[in-house]
């Protein structure tokens, strides 16, 4: 154990002994019932603590494994794609690319049983019987050549199985093995000779590439360049008679909703819309000008309404482009929408919320 940990142990435990709060309980929570503890207290220790009574054979294990596990781990536990390999790799731990499997690496068999029972199969954890888990564990041992094909694993003989890498672990020894990392750092002339590149990530080239990089670049392109194409697109629906445009262009509606954010401070639309600084706008497209009930319009706007004008495409576009040119003393303090397709989009959006 590390110096640090010893220090920590000392202080934490001492603090605990000294703390008057130790004895003070708040009486929160409730006692756990035995059935509840039994349902969750499933962890199995290397010494066998927690193992349920039961057994399973290599033969049964093969069937259960093929059914439940082979899709990821391969029929012989040899692994599939990036999923963990459970068998093989014996004697590879000191190699350049060690293959760490149950057979070559795992120090305790209890870990296999514990993990399979509580966490596998992936997507259907905790659905297998205790005997099936014994059988799967037996089959994994068999696929690592650690038991014969007639082997039956049970809670009785569980501890008899020897795991090849049981002695392959040491407790964290960084404090001693890396004691030289506690040092006074060099500031000048820390390396001799020229510093040279020995490896480049760009040469290896395994960093994920940007998907749709081209699209992103197009999006970023100056708005002026993109505008003509958009305008052309926006003009299409306009050629059709307004009445026939009952089928809404959902793309345009979406866009309009965004543009409408500029209007939202004063205008409400949709269910429950009411007059605010500006009139509510449900049904306004195609309807009579200056006709929303309860709203006090400017004189100019009211006159247009009285003259029988409607919010047809021409009027709407003219008004939204330069409100104060269309109606000199309109109350609308909005500078106007510069782009025609923004106007079309807003009109489409207003139609959509009025339906």
């Amino acid at each position: 154990m590390s110096k640090y940990r010893n220090l920590l142990i000392g202080s934490a435990l001492a603090a605990m002994a000294a703390s008057p709060a130790l004895a003070e309980k708040l009486g929160l929570g409730r006692p756990a019932l035995p059935e509840e503890i039994a349902a969750w207290n499933l962890d199995i220790h290397p010494d066998g603590t927690g193992l349920p009574v039961g057994s399973g054979s290599v033969e049964d294990g093969e069937a259960v494994f093929v059914e439940n596990c082979a899709v990821c781990h391969g029929e012989f536990a040899e692994g599939s794609g990036n999923w963990p390999k459970l068998a093989g790799g014996e004697g590879t731990l000191a190699d350049k690319d060690p293959l760490k499997t149950v057979g070559s690496y795992w120090p305790y068999l209890s870990t296999v049983y514990d993990y399979v029972r509580r966490s596998m199969p992936f997507g259907a954890a905790q659905t297998m019987s205790d005997d099936d888990v014994y059988a799967i564990t037996a089959y994994i041992l068999y696929s690592n050549y650690l038991v014969e094909d007639d082997f039956v694993l049970s809670n009785e003989n569980f501890l008899d199985v020897e795991m090849p890498n049981a002695d392959g672990f040491i407790v964290d020894d960084r404090d001693t093995a890396e004691a030289h990392f506690w040092t006074e750092p060099c500031m000048e002339n820390c390396k001799e000779g020229e510093v040279k590149i020995t490896m480049r990530a760009a040469v290896l080239d395994v960093t994920p590439e940007e998907e749709g990089a081209e699209e992103a670049a197009a999006e970023e392109a100056p708005a002026e360049a993109a505008a003509p194409a958009e305008e052309a697109k926006a003009e299409e629906p306009a050629e059709e008679p307004v009445v026939a445009a009952a089928a809404l262009d959902t793309e345009l509606v979406k866009k309009g909703e965004k543009v409408f954010k500029k209007c939202k401070a004063c205008h409400q639309v949709g269910e429950g819309a009411a007059n605010k600084t500006g009139p509510m706008l449900n049904g306004v497209v195609g309807g009579p000008i200056g006709a929303v009930e309860g709203f006090k319009y400017s004189k100019g706007m009211a006159e247009l309404g009285e003259a029988g004008e409607t919010w047809n495409e021409e009027n709407l576009t003219a008004f939204l482009t330069k409100p104060k040119s269309f109606i000199k003393k309109t109350k609308m303090g909005f500078a106007g929408l510069k782009k025609e397709d923004d106007i079309n989009a807003v009109a489409e959006y207003l139609k959509s919320v009025s339906q």
Partner: protein, 428 residues
């Protein structure tokens, strides 16, 4: 979110911008550049200065503005078999300060991020305690509460770099980390509520902690650590934990590897030995060159990285004043100093810490410098209050070989080129 890399591999446009900027720099020299003509952003009336913006409530829960939509978590698809049991990376190259917003704090799941309602949350304490107890979420909120800021680093952070420079970006090499302010109750408080007399001598006792998701991720923690500074947290950065970080409650194990910070925590068992679960034997153990493996390597060694400039955050402004910045942290305590080298480790200068280092929390450092367009091999080197100095990769390999996977805290090198682009390299 499985996001393919949408960040700075600088686009053609970004590259052009960079070129223009540096050209301007060359023409103007080091002083303030003279404008070629009046800036239309100033002389022309702009939309935003005339019309109104969004009203309140336009977004009841605010998200970053669309212009920042590339500041996101990203994963590396080839690393894992499936995103359900996988990891992604915090965009540290694009963040500043030390707090990681929850929405871009990296995720690591073993069986996916579950949706567990507070009403369905139960936390059991059993094993060697005087009274095994069950707490509801509501119970947790009635215990005395603490607020602490800690980093969480996955043990595998920088793990792909053992064998050589692999991933081109600080997000990918060092982004399995986040730093949040947690609100919750200490684990000690809960253990004391259940009573530890039954455990006898606490020196050789453990707590085994387990999550409610299908992975049943469970880890054994020495009692000393459990009583020292572990927390059950239910808020992070002031708001409820995100589901991907263990809503409604997770364990916080300051300075120790992220896998121990069990999410959706459901059970705490006092035991007389380590359980030796899957995640503390077959995984999160460090294989040395001779084939033996270290286990119980819980503490995260002191480490740092320059977050900008870096491959995803190249220098675009040309010559002149440059802010070199990065993050440093240590699982053993507070960061006391960070040095930066521009020449691959030959000479070092001490950076400025934005704030004094806090124990087991991220520390931001800055080196305010002048860049003359020369190539740099940028490195940073952290030191902590125990006197530990972040080692080079060569020093680590000398002790550990190249197969450890976990706990790679080596000094990182970015090769910053004359055009301001940066690349992950290894140097002699």
């Amino acid at each position: 979110m499985t996001v393919r890399f949408t960040g700075k591999k600088p686009s053609r446009r970004a590259f052009l911008k960079g070129t223009l900027a540096s050209t301007a720099g060359v023409v103007a020299g080091a002083g303030a550049a003279k404008a070629a003509g009046p800036d239309p952003l100033i002389t022309e009336k702009q939309d935003w200065a005339m019309s109104t913006g969004d009203g309140v409530d336009a977004t009841p829960y605010g998200l970053p503005i669309k212009y920042e939509d590339d500041v996101i978590r990203r994963n590396v698809e080839w690393l894992t078999a499936d995103t359900i049991s996988s990891i992604n990376f915090s965009p540290i190259h694009a963040l500043d300060g030390t707090i990681t917003p929850q929405g871009c704090a990296f995720e690591r799941h073993h069986s996916g991020a579950i949706e567990l309602r507070k009403e369905d949350f139960r936390l059991m304490i059993n094993g060697l305690v005087d009274t095994p107890l069950v707490f509801t979420y509501e119970d947790l909120e009635r215990f005395p509460r603490v607020n602490k800021t800690f980093f969480l680093e996955c043990a595998a952070n920088t793990g792909m770099e053992w064998a050589g420079a692999q991933l081109n970006g600080a997000q990918f090499t060092h982004g399995m980390i986040h730093n949040m302010e947690y609100s919750g109750v200490t684990l000690r408080t809960l253990l004391e509520e259940a009573g530890l007399n039954a455990a006898g001598d606490l020196k050789d006792k453990w707590v085994y902690v387990e999550g409610a998701d299908a992975s049943s991720n469970g880890r054994s923690i020495p009692m000393e650590k459990a009583l020292d500074d572990c927390m059950i947290a239910f808020k992070a950065n002031g708001e409820a934990l995100r589901k991907e970080h263990g809503y409604p409650a997770r364990l916080v194990v300051p300075g120790w590897e992220g896998n121990m910070w069990v999410k959706w925590i459901r059970r705490i068992e006092v035991t007389d030995a380590a359980v030796e679960s899957r995640e503390e034997t077959s995984k999160y153990t460090d294989t040395l060159a001779d084939g033996t493996s270290r286990k119980w390597t819980w503490v995260m060694d002191a480490k740092s990285v320059v977050t900008s400039p870096s491959p995803q955050s190249p220098i675009k402004h040309g010559k002149g004043p440059l802010v070199i910045t990065g993050l440093a942290w240590s699982g053993r305590g507070a960061i006391t100093r960070v040095d930066v080298s521009k020449d691959g480790g030959k000479t070092w200068e001490t950076a400025r810490l934005a704030n004094p280092g806090q124990p087991m929390a991220l520390t931001r450092f800055y080196l305010d410098t002048e860049w003359n367009g020369e190539e740099m091999f940028l490195q940073s080197r952290a030191m902590d209050e125990t006197g530990y100095v972040q080692p080079t990769k060569a020093m680590l390999r000398e002790v550990r070989g190249e197969n450890s996977i976990y706990h790679n805290n080596c000094i990182q090198t970015w090769w910053v080129k004359a055009d301001g682009e940066a690349e992950n390299v290894e140097v002699s």
